[in-house]
């Protein structure tokens, strides 16, 4: 079983790599030297929320409250269990390094599918190897993110934007802020690793909106 999965993943991986490179090239051409703070692709003003990526999808009717149990992003071969996490020093505390392959859901916020922004955090790597959200920065707009929930429903999200937010110029509103539209934020680390601080310089944030649901 795991072997089959790996074989299929390597095919997908090549696709993801190629896709990622093409998209980065496209992104660079569209953003001549404007740094990490895109006001919106092509200078398009972000409607409604000035400090967030533009909303591509119309608000979907919120789903009833139900805890998330699993996240799947087929396009990058990400399949992981979800545990509940709280806050530590003002940030959602990712699952411990002893369980690097699970994602953490911020239990103080909405459940994925409910109104508002549900937050999922996960490590990009441990001190020795890639972790659950290692491939997160290669996710592209339009990608499907499925969240399996405790009530047996699956909330379907579609990626609207992927951003690298520098920790030195961190905008909590941009990363965590939300209205009532059901959304999902997937957050991990990125940028460069400071060996002294033992920390990455940025957060990678995937912005996704609820676009559908089905029963498992």
């Amino acid at each position: 079983m795991p072997d089959e999965e790996r074989t299929s993943v390597s095919g997908r991986t090549w696709a993801a790599v190629a896709m990622g490179l093409v998209l980065f090239a496209a992104w660079l051409m569209g953003h001549p030297g404007d740094g990490v703070d895109p006001a919106g692709p092509g200078g398009q003003p972000a409607a409604g929320s000035a400090d967030r990526p533009p909303q591509v999808y119309a608000p979907h009717l919120p789903l009833p409250d139900s805890k998330p149990v699993r996240v799947d992003i087929a396009s990058i071969g990400l399949h992981a269990g979800i545990v509940e996490r709280g806050l530590l020093n003002g940030a959602v505390d990712p699952p411990p390094y002893s369980t690097p392959d699970v994602a953490g859901w911020f239990r103080g916020g909405p459940a994925p599918g409910a109104a508002g922004a549900a937050l999922l955090v996960g490590h990009v790597d441990t001190e020795t190897r890639p972790a659950v959200f290692y491939g997160l920065s290669t996710v592209t707009p339009g990608a499907e993110v499925e969240i399996q929930r405790a009530d047996g429903s699956v909330a379907e999200f579609t990626v609207e934007g992927v951003e690298v937010v520098d920790k030195d110029h961190f905008s909590a509103d941009r990363v965590y802020g939300a209205g009532t539209r059901p959304e999902l934020r997937l957050i991990t680390c990125g940028g460069t690793f400071d060996q002294e601080k033992r920390a990455y310089s940025a957060n990678v944030v995937v912005f996704a909106a609820l676009t559908g649901s089905h029963q498992d």
């Binding site: 790996r6 390597s10 991986t13 090549w14 993801a16 790599v17 990622g20 490179l21 980065f24 992104w27 660079l28 953003h31 030297g33 404007d34 740094g35 990490v36 806050l87 020093n89 003002g90 940030a91 990712p94 390094y97 911020f106 937050l119 490590h123 990009v124 790597d125 441990t126 001190e127 020795t128 190897r129 890639p130 972790a131 959200f133 290692y134 491939g135 920065s137 290669t138 690298v164 937010v165 520098d166 920790k167 961190f170 909590a172 965590y176 957050i187 991990t188 680390c189 990125g190 940028g191 460069t192 690793f193 060996q195 033992r198 920390a199 990455y200 310089s201 940025a202 957060n203 990678v204």
Partner: protein, 189 residues
């Protein structure tokens, strides 16, 4: 008889002098001098504040009166309800108290200076201990990496922040994915 007692008294006085009890003894003009101390908590306070006075052993009676220039009015000290030693009372500092050091004197057993202490009025803004409410929503970046794959990002990122760092992340991710894929292909091929 007298001849015997006087040397003894003189000897006691010498002992006192040697043992460092000089100030209390030297100031001893009369029996009215303070023989005990009143503890003021907090020792430094501000106009309008309430302080606590505690006399440990200076009074034999179960009541004492404490007064100070900066008190709203003299207060009566009584044994604490928890059954501990001494006499206690709260005292209010006048709202128009001027910064400075003021003496507090305690009267008991007919002694107007049975115990003494000081209270310092600093009249700075009351130190507000910031009670940090438990935040309900995150405000800080997520610490989500141990750096195990970071050497891959070290190269291009040194060029500078902004676009380059995005490139570095993307490049690193792509490069490592490629590496993983090659590794897997070799393993399975």
């Amino acid at each position: 008889m007298l001849d015997i007692r006087r040397p003894a008294a003189a000897g006691a006085a010498v002992l006192f002098l040697l043992s460092g009890a000089v100030p209390a003894f030297a100031d001893n003009e009369s029996s009215a001098s303070a023989s005990g101390t009143v503890t003021v908590t907090p020792g430094k306070t501000w106009a309008g504040a309430v302080i606590t006075l505690h006399v440990k052993s200076a009074c034999r009676s179960a009541k004492a009166k404490a007064s100070a220039e900066v008190f709203v009015s003299p207060v009566t000290l009584a044994p604490p309800v928890d059954g501990q030693d001494g006499l206690v009372s709260d005292a209010s500092i006048r709202s128009d108290a001027v910064a400075g050091t003021y003496s507090v004197s305690v009267e008991c057993d007919g002694n107007t200076h049975a115990a003494q202490g000081t209270v310092v009025i600093i009249n700075q803004v009351a130190p507000v201990t910031p009670v940090k409410p438990e935040p309900l929503w995150p405000t800080a970046p997520v610490p989500a990496g141990g750096g195990g794959t970071a050497q891959l990002a070290a190269g291009p990122a040194e060029a500078g922040p902004g676009t380059d760092s995005v490139l570095a992340v993307g490049g690193a991710a792509a490069a490592s994915l490629a590496a993983v894929a090659v590794y897997r292909r070799r393993r399975h091929g």
